[in-house]
């Protein structure tokens, strides 16, 4: 099909084209960027005419579709980029080489400081503005979910076929909508299940404190400051709390994120814990595996299967019936009375970091994997060919994802930075976008209505982080090869390939790679924001 004339496009824009003519034009538009642009212009004109005739206001100016680098102002842009890159690289490289002694807490990768800050911040917010916070969060949750859904429906509907997309969404809605009656909601400040009480259903608890002395037949999901369990939970336990005290028993597995977790009772399933301070007392028992990410761990109890630990400081005086695997541990001590049925594998920096009392029994072998000095290790890492194979695969995946995005939403890549000021604004916006969503997601997750939304939002956030890098790659490719090169998927692929390669190589350079990656993500998030602002729903 050659380019359709404007009369036909006008009919199309006015929704008056039907049947074969419409589907033929649809498929042409999928392929032809030029006609798509024309359709958008005609649609704008229709809206414009409607506004003039209806004497409505039109305050938002319609922006040009693709921002391009302004050659005149662009002199400032390379300077700005160079300056920021150097600052990032120097600061990042300094950070990545060793931190000065005594300032360990400040290191962003250390667990301790980050934990306390996160917990304090969340509970402070909840305490100081309880009603307002929950209202805002639940309104935000409903709005974001409906926005996400309508965006998804719109996208799928336009690109695929109506009925199937509708069915898919219906299945998602029905499938995702578990019957609410099976869950007992507890929103009080203090929740208590008395010792003679039996709860037949699952419980979802939010509030300040909760105490379960009785029996719960289903699962327990709790976001509370302090949770105490002396009774019995037949299902699984999911906890987000500052303080967890378990002296009762749990029939399923325990999943806990908390500052302090003390397990004194019996867990029949596995125990998955992320905690600053984790204690499994002498009487504590875990029926299956332990997956623990800890700052301080004291394991005096009994694990019936394997244990995998990552953390700073681990003390073992109890029993592990199978293997013990310790990764990235600063200090590990196996005391007298400790018993490991299988092998012990420990990744430590120095030999002295692993201490084994002669009284500790180990059924299998002990293997210490000494981590080399980070600097030297970083060098040797880069000599291994397998690293480059992994990079090549990651590159291919990013490239394929970019092509897919372009095929689905070609206009997504219509972004650019025109001047140094633009660049700084993007950086700032990117920083806000990098920091705010995770906080918001945690807050949304705290309210009952927000749990599924928080999960969805996390996916969107991660996708945005990924897309951010791709947008930057496209922008770089375009700056080098020119805007005209990308008329088709093939042309786009060429420009994108070059841009992505540059981003990939730069972000994997020794020492300065990570700061450069951070810079890319910040800039890219700014670009994502710029692009989102031009969506019809925001552009009015």
């Amino acid at each position: 099909m050659s380019h359709p004339d404007e009369a036909l496009l006008t009919t199309y824009v006015d929704d008056a084209l039907t049947g074969a003519a419409r589907s033929e034009l649809d498929s042409h538009l999928m392929r032809c960027r030029e006609c798509r642009t024309h359709v958008v212009a005609l649609r704008d004109e229709s809206a414009f005419l409607g506004d003039v005739l209806g004497e409505r206001e039109r305050p938002m100016p319609v922006r040009e579709a693709v921002p391009q680098i302004e050659t005149g102002v662009a002199i400032g842009l390379p300077l700005a980029i160079a300056a920021v890159t150097i600052v990032f690289a120097v600061v990042g490289a300094l950070l990545e080489s060793r931190m000065p002694g005594g300032l360990d807490v400040l290191h962003p990768l250390r667990l301790k400081g980050a934990y306390e800050m996160a917990f304090d911040f969340i509970f402070f917010l909840r305490d100081s503005a309880p009603g307002a916070l929950e209202l805002i969060v639940s309104l935000g949750a409903v709005a974001s979910l409906s926005a996400l859904l309508s965006f998804g429906v719109g996208l799928v509907y336009r690109r695929l076929f109506g009925t199937t997309a509708g069915l898919v969404m219906a299945v998602v809605l029905i499938g995702g909508g578990e019957p609410a009656r099976a869950v007992q909601l507890e929103l009080d400040k203090e929740t208590r299940v008395a010792s003679d009480e039996v709860v037949e259903e699952s419980m979802v608890i939010t509030g300040d404190r909760a105490r379960i002395d009785g029996t719960v037949k289903g699962d327990v999901v709790a976001t509370v400051e302090r949770l105490q369990i002396t009774g019995r939970i037949e299902g699984n336990l999911y906890v987000f709390a500052r303080d967890l005290d378990l002296t009762g028993s749990v029939g399923g597995s325990v999943h806990v994120i908390s500052q302090r977790a003390r397990i004194d009772g019996e867990i029949e399933g596995s125990c998955l814990a992320v905690a600053a301070m984790y204690t499994l007392t002498k009487d504590g028992q875990v029926g299956k595996d332990g997956w623990l990410l800890l700052a301080h761990g004291t394991l005096d109890g009994h694990f019936r299967r394997d244990v995998l630990i990552g953390g700073e400081d681990v003390e073992l005086a109890g029993t592990i019936e199978r293997n013990l695997d310790m990764r990235f541990v600063d200090q590990a001590r196996l005391h007298a009375g400790a018993r490991v049925g299988g092998d012990v594998d420990a990744w430590v920096t120095n030999k002295d970091d692993f201490e084994q009392d002669p009284g500790a029994q180990i059924g299998g072998t002990v293997q210490l994997h000494l981590e080399e000095d980070p600097g030297r290790q970083a060098f040797w890492d880069r000599v291994r060919p397998s690293l480059y194979v992994a990079h090549a695969i990651a590159y291919a995946a990013s490239f394929a994802f970019g092509l897919l995005l372009f095929a689905l939403i070609p206009s997504l890549f219509d972004v650019g930075i025109r001047s140094g000021r633009d660049f700084f604004r993007n950086l700032l916006m990117g920083f806000v976008l990098l920091v705010v969503p995770p906080c918001a997601i945690v807050l949304v997750g705290l309210t009952l209505v927000g749990l599924p939304v928080a999960v969805l939002a996390s996916f969107v956030y991660i996708t945005c982080l990924y897309a951010a890098e791709l947008l930057v790659a496209m922008w770089i490719g375009r700056a080098l090869l020119g805007h005209e090169a990308e008329a088709s998927l093939w042309g786009f692929g060429r420009v994108f390939f070059v841009g992505l390669a540059i981003v990939f190589i730069a972000s994997h350079l020794p020492y300065v790679g990570k700061p450069i990656l951070l810079l890319c993500v910040l800039t890219g998030l700014g670009l994502v924001f710029e692009r989102a602002r031009r969506l019809p729903m925001f552009a009015g």
Partner: protein, 217 residues
């Protein structure tokens, strides 16, 4: 989750309803299910005069504007507007509640106006295709209109629309202000849908030409 899902379903394709805002004709125009309008229509069907008053209050401005655009401001337009309301009141039982009320009302207004235009020119073939339409237009013409609508630009565009010949102006107003479909416009103007499309295309071209002549940008 269940509760959440059902709460979100009605908002899938639109924005959340804005609580506390006053319903105005323009805002609720495309929502045939708007609670307030539906209730008023129900009451109007039962013959409540007040409900008619409220409906005309919401949509009167739009009807008046349509008549003024089609017939020019004057007694003729005012007559057409009041005729529209008389006709609507008599025909309210025929109103199909699945369609937006505004579109239905404006369709009545459009028919009134076109009758008057025909009487005015004493020529039935006002909108019939002529040789003029067969003539090919230069390609490419001026690019589509867009941009900010400040007072001056609005006046310029409005002036250009008023300068359009009636055969172009009527379909333009019916399509982009009254939001009628090609089929509905075709019925009113006694034309096929294809001919309506051609008239609209030419109307837009002519309008662009008038505006580029008026202000060389």
């Amino acid at each position: 989750m269940h509760l959440l899902a059902s709460a979100c379903r009605p908002t899938l394709v639109g924005a959340l309803p804005v609580i506390g805002s006053q319903p105005r004709g323009a805002e609720i125009s495309n929502d045939p299910d708007h609670v307030l309008v539906r209730a008023q229509i129900e009451r109007a069907r039962r013959g409540e005069t007040e409900a008619f008053g409220a409906l005309f209050g919401s949509f009167g401005a739009d009807v008046a504007r349509l008549c003024a655009r089609m017939l020019g401001s004057g007694a003729d337009a005012e007559d057409a507007a009041s005729e529209t309301f008389l006709r609507a009141r008599r025909a309210i039982d025929d109103y199909d509640a699945t369609r937006p009320f505004r579109t239905w009302l404006l369709a009545i207004a459009a028919h009134r106006c076109i009758d008057r235009l025909r009487q005015r020119t004493r020529e039935q073939k006002l909108f019939a295709p002529t040789e003029l339409d067969a003539e090919t237009l230069p390609h490419p013409g001026p690019s589509p209109l867009r941009g900010e609508l400040d007072g001056e630009r609005r006046r310029a565009v409005t002036r250009a629309i008023d300068q359009l010949p009636e055969r172009y102006r009527a379909p333009l107003v019916l399509r982009y202000f009254a939001e009628q479909s090609y089929l509905e416009i075709g019925v009113a103007l006694e034309l096929s849908e294809a001919q309506v499309g051609m008239l609209l295309y030419r109307a837009r071209r002519k309008l662009r030409e008038l505006l580029t002549e008026g202000s060389p940008e």
